[in-house]
Symmetry: C2
Subunit: 215 residues, 2 copies
Amino acid sequence: MSDSTPKFKREPAEHRREALIKATLSLIAEKGVQAATVRAIAARADVSQGMIRHHFSSKEDLITAAYEHHMDRLTDLTSAFAEGDCSAPVARLAAFVVGSLTPPVVDAGSVSLWAGFLTKVHDDAQMRESHKRTYYNFRNRLEALIAAVLKDAGQPTTAQELRHLAIACNAVIDGLWMEGGVLPSAFAPDELSEIGIRSVGALLGIDLTKAGQQT
Amino acid sequence: MSDSTPKFKREPAEHRREALIKATLSLIAEKGVQAATVRAIAARADVSQGMIRHHFSSKEDLITAAYEHHMDRLTDLTSAFAEGDCSAPVARLAAFVVGSLTPPVVDAGSVSLWAGFLTKVHDDAQMRESHKRTYYNFRNRLEALIAAVLKDAGQPTTAQELRHLAIACNAVIDGLWMEGGVLPSAFAPDELSEIGIRSVGALLGIDLTKAGQQT
DNA sequence: TTCGTAATCATGCAAGTGTATAATTAGGAA
DNA sequence: TTCCTAATTATACACTTGCATGATTACGAA
């Protein structure tokens, strides 16, 4: 007999990979890393569990791909904030900070996923490399913004000083981002970004509050 | 026949609990949370696996206890730094910051341990409560030190402002601590504590570098 | 000494895990 | 149309997990 309804559809490999990654991320965001089992991921992506091994060499491989996808998305989101705004360096830096400290970047699932990966960084070389890459990527963007702001303000700075400022600003943003994701109830809305703007301003010796009028 | 060698020794409950917690912590620090199984913990503590259910209501309960033990130890270590130093508020704050950003507090195992627990905070209510407690504990100590410093400097501050400063200082310390533990090679020795001292000083508008001559 | 009991152990179980394998089947090529 | 092949599914396997159960046994009390 001729089939009235195909039992499944063949998709380009890239679509399937992406769908599996999306399913993995949404699952982790909702119920934590330990809920991202092969069966649960497959169910959410509406495919059989064999698909995971077919498109990824292992479940670990899928998780790693999901992590990179996630971190790249976070960096892109905050950068988009900075780019979209006007061209004044101060405003761009302020937008970058605000973007890092408001949803959807600040999110319980995001932080949970990130933390789950941090544990693997300890003993997995590939994961350590991946973390290093995303960390420097974010910090270097921040450093460039800071350099522009300081130059604009006519404050001369050594490379070493600039490096320290970038590390410090990165740290305060990371710290706020993390706590905001883990304990959302501990902070009022916009409180994190307000603190972030003021803190980065204080670290640089420049007032960012005027430029930080959010969205 | 009389037994020449007892097959096991009865220990005070507190000793056993502590031994199990220690075993759990060392295991997680070495191989991550997923390696802290009932059997692995029991093996490391040199007891049968039944002991865990006997001394803790569940494995989750043991994990939570281990987390609290670990975080309390970290807080105690940094506080000891602040207490041991002289009585000048500025010096105490500086010591607190330096203590938070140098070994043994800054340590790959510690951070990995902390990250492992963080993943559980997302979906375990008891864990979330525990995290909240340790977070506020640390932040409140920091806030008290900051208040003393500002009062000493004759800078009036509102409660809200004080809260924001504590959150910001806590964030920068957390961020530096974390990156120092995850990517030790990315920072020179004493670089983290130097940045920490300068950053907290900048946030408060007070120079801490003179008081921060380490140990 | 004897005995009771709580601490400790040894074993088993049901559920869930990632992975391997072979059977299906969609969809393009000949 | 007819095949061929790779995508997809269905199923099973070996292993690990946390927890429960009942048998031991150390050790203080009587």
